[in-house]
């Protein structure tokens, strides 16, 4: 018989807080930034790439993972915890396809991940998962969706959101700049994600990883060349804006 833990680690404090969950949220705040944008026909995920050591292979560090053909997620927080959650979610996606003969809806898989996280805040001998996840994808009927989960096990739908280090700055930027015009085309939505990340990322395009899902198409990770091109476009647009403002002032 396996030894059984009979004492919970996550217990209430006198003023109603679950400290373990709050400490997990602190761990999330230390993770690298991730941003998610829901467009009209596209959903975009962008993450801040941590600088890799010289001898490290770049490809093995991936923060954006596909859960199924039409759903993917990015996370902020403890990478090892994320691996476990992603594995469980991938199994659940296939299990759902097997038993229900339909692909999961984004809300369903988010609910599954959130329930899994909640269970770990209320059981013996286990600590909460130290990750927040941004889950994006398209439903069977073609509706784009973006959800965010956090270590306590709650989940919400968003039009655009950011998690991790400097999430607040990015979210404020998005609140100012997410308009119907700014997501009018796919390209504009991608540029909005890059602009949001450029607010907090140091040296530009090299430190950004971007993935998009278009309706009825699988996950596509943008290559660094494409990202550089888009960053260059954004810089140009910024200069043009600055020029216009100068001209206005001088006239």
């Amino acid at each position: 018989m396996a030894a059984r833990y009979d004492r919970a680690i996550t217990v209430f404090s006198p003023d109603g807080h679950l400290f373990q969950v709050e400490y997990a949220q602190e761990a999330v705040k230390k993770g690298s930034t991730a941003v998610g944008i829901r467009g009209k026909d596209i959903v975009v995920l962008g993450v801040e790439k941590k600088s890799v050591a010289k001898l490290q292979e770049e490809r093995t560090v991936r923060k954006i993972c596909a859960l199924d053909d039409h759903v993917c997620m990015a996370f902020a927080g403890l990478t090892a915890d994320a691996r476990i959650v992603i594995n469980r979610a991938r199994v659940e996606c296939q299990s759902h396809r097997l038993t229900v003969e339909d692909p999961v809806t984004v809300e369903y898989i988010t609910r599954h991940i959130a329930t899994l996280k909640q269970r770990y805040t209320q059981s013996n001998g286990r600590r909460p998962f130290g990750i927040s996840a941004l889950i994006v994808g398209f439903d069977y009927d073609g509706t784009p969706r973006l959800y965010q989960t956090d270590p306590s096990g709650t989940y919400h739908a968003w039009k655009a959101n950011a998690i991790g280090r400097s999430a607040k700055t990015v979210r404020e930027f998005l609140e100012k700049n997410y308009t119907d015009e700014s997501i009018a085309t796919d390209n504009e939505a991608i540029k909005l994600a890059i602009k949001a990340l450029l607010e907090v990322v140091q040296s530009g395009g090299k430190n950004i990883e971007l993935a998009v899902i278009r309706r009825n198409q699988p996950l596509k990770l943008l290559e660094s060349k494409e990202i550089e091109t888009l960053v260059a476009e954004i810089e140009k647009e910024k200069e043009e804006e600055a020029e216009k403002k100068k001209q206005k002032k001088s006239t």
Binding site: M1, E92, H96, T99, E101, D102, H112, T115, R119
Partner: protein
């Protein structure tokens, strides 16, 4: 635990499939679409499948006793351009004794899902009611009605756990979901087939004969009603274990309607007078 190991209990307490040890945190609960806890208790120390096999499978049975599990009834369902027709008889028999002529062999799971029953009345009624419960819970959790393929899969997964233990159930799950009309055949072996036309029970051969000779996909609604009714009637006429009344349902895009419930005696006179 130390004391348990010393006593050597783990030697003879087997971990069977249903109660395999898993931490409660890792057990998938409502996200797994099979019934996670066994719905029916199985007696300890007896393997029902092993017990039943010589009685059912072998030629001479056990001490000359052989159990034949027949599906004594006739039910049918077919898809056509205006939806799905479902027709059943209503006789329940115990051997050569007719228990009732007014048995309801169609269970109305929700306004867009029907299940027919053939085989052991108890098994069908029980398992289809469990299916109805699961379908209601699905709707509450996911805020949309369960699809016909998922509902039939749920039923098949539930009964496959009891394979070989003497369940006798041949059912058709009919419905209309966002993929259109759906018709699945599920039986006690866990077989699940998608198709356009099925008939189950001891009278199914007679029903197939009538259905196959009159079926076209582009039947009109009155023609389909007539075909379904005739097929069941002819089966009740020749099969001893089918009879009573013909209960007919029509599954449409807006849900099912109960078309008619006619006694086979009245049908006989109507069809007979047509012949003249």
């Amino acid at each position: 635990m130390a004391l348990l190991d010393v006593c050597g209990i783990s030697d003879w307490v087997k971990e069977d499939g249903f109660n395999a040890e898993r931490a409660s945190v890792d057990k998938v609960n409502h996200f797994n679409f099979a019934a996670q806890t066994p719905e029916l208790a199985v007696p300890v120390g007896v393997d029902p499948a092993e017990f039943l096999r010589p009685l059912v499978d072998s030629e001479e049975g056990v001490n000359g006793v052989k159990i034949n599990l027949e599906h004594g009834t006739t039910t049918l369902a077919f898809k056509f351009q205006h939806g799905v027709m479902v027709a059943v008889d209503s006789r329940a028999s115990a051997g050569s004794y007719v228990s009732t002529q007014m048995f309801k062999k169609v269970i109305e799971i929700n306004p867009f899902l029907l299940g027919t029953m053939s085989g052991s009345a108890a098994d069908c009624v029980y398992w289809e009611r469990v299916l109805a419960k699961e379908c209601r819970i699905y709707k509450l959790r996911n805020k949309e009605r369960i699809s016909v393929s998922a509902a039939s899969k749920l039923l098949a997964n539930m009964v496959v756990n009891y394979r070989g233990m003497g369940l006798s159930m041949g059912t058709m799950i009919c419905g209309w979901d966002k993929k259109g009309p759906g018709l699945y055949y599920v039986d006690d072996n866990g077989l699940r087939l998608c198709g356009n036309m099925f008939s189950t029970g001891s009278g199914n051969t007679y029903a197939y004969g009538v259905m196959d000779s009159g079926y076209r996909y582009d039947l009109s609604v009155p023609e389909a009603y007539d075909l379904a009714q005739r097929a069941i009637f002819h089966a009740t006429h020749r099969d001893a274990y089918s009879g009573g009344t013909v209960n007919m349902y029509h599954m449409r895009e807006t849900g099912w309607i109960k078309v008619s419930q006619e006694d086979v005696g009245d049908l006989y006179h109507r069809f007979y007078s047509e012949k003249k």
